[in-house]
């Protein structure tokens, strides 16, 4: 037997191997057009970075509000008049109610994310329109926490002070910050070691554990 004969035989016989039917041109074309349109719509519906920022901000505010609400509902009731409690000096060793602590740490995690993205954008010379608005939201929540039992812990109070200062700066450069202004804020965050402090105060795994403990 020769190689040529074998190859002819195989070529001839293999034509029946998975012999294709007539190409369903129109059917496939219709599906290609539909699938491309669907993918285009899906891409358009994907949230932009700005929309993501807004969602983060809303989520942060919601978590904080929930934490404070839970704290008021199930936390220890003050045994002294409120004005008297609020007047206590920071760092007096008083235990922070767990719900306030949880809310504070959740807030600090959102602040950390905000600062991280802000630094990235500032270094790239970007300034998203929503940045100042988000800073104002976080600033408001920070001040609420400073006035809450969470703010009576000396370490927490110091951290919240630093956070307030930086958020206030970002919020004040609302409309069109210059690259120099962005650089100054970026340097401020660095010099205070804010990101490190925030990560130490609110480690990522803390949220789930503390939520289990409180709720």
């Amino acid at each position: 037997m020769s190689d040529d004969r074998f190859e002819d035989f195989v070529r001839q016989s293999a034509k029946d191997y998975h012999r294709p039917p007539e190409t369903p041109r129109e059917q496939m074309w219709a599906r290609i057009v539909a699938e491309r349109a669907e993918r285009k719509l899906a891409r358009a519906a994907r949230p932009s970075p700005r929309q993501m920022w807004i969602r983060w901000g809303l989520a942060a505010a919601a978590v904080l509000a929930l934490g404070i609400g839970i704290g008021r509902g199930i936390g220890p009731k003050p045994t002294r008049p409120l004005m008297e409690v609020a007047a206590l000096p920071a760092g007096n060793g008083e235990q922070i109610p767990a719900a306030f602590e949880l809310a504070a740490r959740d807030h600090l995690r959102h602040v950390e994310t905000f600062f991280t993205v802000f630094q990235y954008e500032a270094r790239a010379g970007l300034a998203a329109d929503q940045t100042a608005g988000l800073a104002r939201n976080l600033l408001m929540n920070t001040r609420l926490l400073m006035d809450s039992p969470a703010g009576r812990d000396a370490h927490m109070a110091a951290l919240l002070d630093d956070v307030e200062v930086m958020l206030a700066q970002i919020a004040s450069y609302a409309d069109s910050p210059t690259p120099a202004e962005l650089r100054l804020i970026d340097q401020g965050i660095e010099q205070r070691g804010l990101l490190l402090k925030l990560r130490a105060a609110a480690p990522a795994e803390y949220g789930a554990l503390s939520a289990q403990g409180v709720l």
Binding site: D16, Y17, R31
Partner: protein
């Protein structure tokens, strides 16, 4: 019309030109997908995905090779990756093989021998089977196969030679039928 002109129109968003490109190449892509998958649904899915990717990436086609060669490379990648993902491919392939063997008898080969050949082709490693089907059955050149699989043409030739050797071994018992 010159294909380069059609491609330029596709890049400009001309849907008619897209259809022209599709019509020019769809048969070859679908046939190859069907030969490799042995399943009409899979072959259609792979063909569609190949064209969708090609239209999405056409900005990146620089014209260094023929458009067809570039498209076959995309299609081959889609088909081979798809086949690896489809777990039930083997069972479907076997079912369709049976149907094809029973329904088509245009070649004067003994049914047992045809079945044996189909099984032998199935048993080839995917890369050998791909080269064998592309070259010996669908008529692709070694250059086209090389671009499609990302290997030198010499590798394609070597793999075809090994595929044929394996088929010859598998069909040794039937030697008299092609020698006569």
């Amino acid at each position: 019309m010159d294909e380069r002109e059609v491609i330029a129109r596709v890049r400009a968003g001309d849907a008619v030109a897209e259809r022209q490109l599709y019509d020019a190449h769809v048969d070859r892509i679908y046939r190859l997908a069907y030969r490799l998958a042995g399943d009409d649904d899979l072959a259609q899915d792979f063909t569609q995905e190949a064209f969708i990717r090609a239209f999405e990436r056409i900005e990146g086609f620089r014209g260094e090779a023929a458009f067809g060669t570039w498209l076959y490379a995309i299609a081959t990648s889609v088909v081979l990756n798809g086949l690896r993902k489809v777990k039930r491919f083997r069972e479907r392939e076997a079912d369709l093989d049976d149907a094809v063997t029973i329904g088509a008898s245009s070649v004067d080969a003994d049914p047992d021998l045809k079945e044996k050949l189909a099984n032998a082709v199935d048993d080839l490693p995917l890369k050998y089977r791909t080269v064998f089907l592309m070259h010996d059955v669908e008529g692709y050149t070694h250059e086209e196969i090389g671009v499609a699989l990302g290997v030198p043409p010499g590798t394609s030739k070597a793999q075809l030679s090994r595929a044929r050797a394996r088929l010859r071994d598998a069909l040794a018992a039937f030697a008299g039928q092609w020698a006569s």
